[in-house]
């Protein structure tokens, strides 16, 4: 018999809440508990963090249940330490306010924490979901309005799916070269 919140749904919520702590977004629907709702526009979750984490290529998938359960275990200890009254309706990490989620993630990813590698890896993949959308083809992601790439202003490719920038230079010398530059163009 699984412990409380050790279900697929609860684990998904917990990992979404972790991803939303790394790069937050807006709530997907009224009463969306996983998302803290502290940022306008989508964040790591809307960018595909769970898809990236679950991808066979990334290598995180086999560890996700353990990480979600561990995250909630740490959240239980955190609320006990802080005297916070958890909301029993949702997993312990999800029940935390955004500032407390941040403090706990800072503690987990601190180099002094022997477990930090796992929590940093989780944060890395959440970030990659946002800044690269690595679970999906980049051209297709852009066409579908991938939230992270759109937020960053990543430019669209040419019609063949390749990037070319015909206009790319200010076109003039903008600094004096070092006086000791050698004829090969290297430092002396």
């Amino acid at each position: 018999m699984p412990r409380e919140f050790e279900t697929d749904q609860a684990r998904t919520m917990s990992l979404e809440a972790y991803a939303d702590t790394i790069l937050p977004g807006e709530r997907r629907w009224p009463g969306d508990r996983a998302i803290a709702g502290v940022s306008q526009g989508g964040g790591a979750v809307a960018s595909g963090a769970l898809e990236v984490l679950r991808s066979a290529e990334g290598g995180m998938a086999p560890a996700l249940d353990m990480l979600a359960d561990g995250l909630n275990e740490h959240a239980r200890a955190y609320v006990a330490e802080r005297g916070i009254e958890p909301d029993a309706e949702v997993p312990p990490f999800v029940s935390l306010d955004y500032p407390d989620r941040v403090l706990l993630v800072q503690r987990l990813t601190d180099r002094a924490n022997p477990e930090c590698d796992a929590w940093i890896s989780l944060a890395m993949f959440c970030t990659i979901a946002f800044d690269a959308g690595s679970h999906t083809n980049t051209v297709e992601a852009l066409a579908a309005g991938h939230v992270g790439l759109k937020t960053m202003g990543f430019r669209m490719p040419d019609s063949d799916g390749l990037w070319r920038f015909d206009t790319y230079s200010y076109g003039r010398q903008l600094a004096r070269p070092h006086p000791d530059t050698t004829p090969s163009g290297s430092p002396s």
């Binding site: 993630v105 990659i128 690595s134 990543f154 990037w163 200010y170 003039r172 070092h178 090969s184």
Partner: protein, 551 residues
């Protein structure tokens, strides 16, 4: 007894160190086999795609260590396929560096002057050309203008890029789709193949042992072409000469793993690793100040918003490459692009109230991504990296199907290294924060430690057997017939991009390898022209290498 293939020369790795040796030895008449742990991609295989499994993850190796993470090539062509092709020669003072033992680290035989003819060979072969300012992308122009505004000089950096073919797509870390980047896939490697060399991709060398005739047996596994964690085969090849060029993050690991079969390794194998003193700062520019202070404007009237556009680093300031400054206080600063997918996580939020590398404020920083500029410090670190016990295979415990692994490198920056980084951080701020142009923060070292794209010195040349693994001919001490020609042979940080120096050292090492092969009965001679047949640089080195010329 199992049968083993045999060849004259077995080359491990196909980056600069391996490809250059393979070409000259094959052209000189030796039978050459190159084993490369990564896949063999070219031209249209190089994708503009961040998706896992595309070329961007297939051809890279990102190994997280304890205090230092190393990014390196993992494909036929090695670092030349993923690098940014900046090819400056190392400044003169670098060769006189003394380091923490207060003793010249480079062999007496190597200086900027003695290396020049070998630099010339590389420049002719790739080729390397000077970058014209009218081909410098916006980001390089912005950095140059900011340097000039702050009273600094700035140079357009020599590069191995054919600007006529370049589209300034900035996907060059995924391999160049347009064959504009002059990687080894376009010169040394096809020339080596034309002379009969064999290149075998996805062959990962694990260790070496000895053969009865004084040669070496090279033990490899064959990796699955999608999931590099999976071994699909293996074998051995016997060779009279082994050229080890697996990269500074892998060469010492192969040698460490070979100790039970080869005997004790020189003390310096797996020690004195240098991250080339690398450090990154991210500047977030105020677009209005770019226009008002620097007077810059793109043709469409936007001042900048062009971080994505370009061809890697094009402009550097060399004012601190001053040999009269104390060691550890000399560095270059180079404008750089770092693509998404590891390229944003370590950037920190200036003036953050909360966490600096993640969180709500970090997301706000990412909204301004097109106004970012990354500045790359290459400084003099203290060779403080040490490799721990080797993993069971490869050079890391692979975590993902491709790219990501956990390695045994431990790096605790000394006060010297930290001082250089602090000085360079202050210099970047002084240049880029002047008159409100930008806000600047260094990348955090608290997530994956420090970070290098130019690993060096883990199996270095030198005159002192106590602190160098190789003699000045690149031969592994106490293990004759094994030569190391990759970045691990470079004794210390170079304060500039090292590919040109790694390649020049490999060119310089070849005549000695030819002589060693001849002594072992291989019918080979030195004297091949550049891969395209050009001969002007050859003429300058032939008088230096008469011993390797005889039939």
């Amino acid at each position: 007894m199992t049968s083993s293939e045999n060849t004259d020369v077995l080359v491990i790795g196909s980056g600069f160190g391996g490809a250059i040796a393979a070409y000259h030895l094959a052209a000189g008449g030796a039978r050459v086999v190159v084993l490369e742990r990564g896949p063999w991609l070219s031209g249209e295989d190089f994708q503009h795609d961040f998706k896992f499994g595309s070329s961007s993850t297939r051809i890279f190796d990102f190994v997280i260590g304890d205090g230092m993470s190393v990014l390196s090539g993992n494909c036929v062509g090695g670092g030349s396929v993923v690098y940014f092709a900046a090819m400056p020669r190392a400044p003169r003072f670098v060769f006189d560096r003394k380091g923490r033992f207060n003793r010249r680290m480079w062999p007496a035989a190597v200086s900027r002057d003695t290396l020049e003819p070998w630099y010339d060979r590389v420049a002719e072969a790739l080729p390397v050309t000077q970058t014209a300012w009218d081909t410098v992308p916006f980001a390089g122009g912005l950095f140059g203008a900011a340097c000039d505004h702050a009273g600094r000089t700035a140079n357009a950096v020599p590069a191995a890029v054919d600007t006529a073919k370049c589209t300034n797509c900035n996907w060059m870390m995924s391999g160049c789709r347009f064959d504009a980047k002059r990687s080894l896939l376009l010169n040394y490697l096809p020339a080596a193949l034309a002379h009969g060399a064999q290149i075998r991709p996805l062959h990962e060398v694990q260790h070496l042992s000895r053969t009865d005739d004084g040669g070496y047996r090279v033990h490899y596994t064959v990796l699955d072409d999608v999931d590099y964690r999976v071994e699909v085969g293996g074998g051995t090849i016997d060779a009279k000469i082994v050229v080890l060029a697996a990269g500074a993050g892998a060469t010492p690991v192969i040698l460490q793993r070979s100790e039970p079969t080869l005997g004790a390794m020189p003390h310096a194998v797996g020690r004195y690793f240098s991250g080339n003193g690398e450090r990154l700062n991210t500047a977030i520019f105020d677009e209005d100040r770019i226009r008002d202070v620097l007077g810059l404007s793109r043709p469409d009237g936007v001042p900048y918003e062009a971080y994505q556009i370009g061809k890697g680093p094009c402009v550097a300031t060399w004012d601190k490459l001053d040999g009269s400054l104390p060691e550890y206080e000399r560095f270059s600063l180079e404008q750089l692009y770092f693509p998404p997918g590891f390229g944003t996580i370590l950037a920190q939020v200036p003036d953050a109230v909360g966490p600096t590398w993640f969180g709500a404020e970090k997301k706000e920083l990412l909204r301004r991504w097109q106004s970012w500029l990354t500045v790359f410090t290459m400084s003099e670190d203290d060779n403080e990296g040490v490799f721990g016990a080797p993993p069971s295979s490869g050079n890391s415990m692979r975590l993902s199907q491709q790219m990501l692994g956990r390695g045994s490198l431990r790096y605790e920056p000394t006060e010297n290294t930290l001082r250089g980084w602090a000085l360079s951080d202050a210099e970047v701020r002084d240049i880029l924060e002047r008159d409100g142009l930008a806000r600047v923060m260094p990348w955090t070292n608290d997530v994956v430690g420090a970070y290098t794209v130019h690993p060096l010195a883990s199996c270095r040349i030198g005159d002192d057997p106590a602190t160098s693994a190789l003699d000045d001919r690149h031969e592994l001490r106490d293990h004759p017939g094994i030569f190391v020609t990759d970045g691990s042979a470079v004794p210390a940080g170079l304060t500039v991009n090292p590919a040109m120096t790694i390649a020049a050292l490999a060119e310089r090492a070849v005549p000695g390898i030819v002589e060693a092969a001849r002594a072992r009965g291989v019918d080979v001679r030195y004297g091949a022209p550049a891969p395209d047949g050009a001969t002007s640089s050859r003429a300058a080195v032939l008088p230096l290498v008469s011993g390797a010329l005889r039939r």
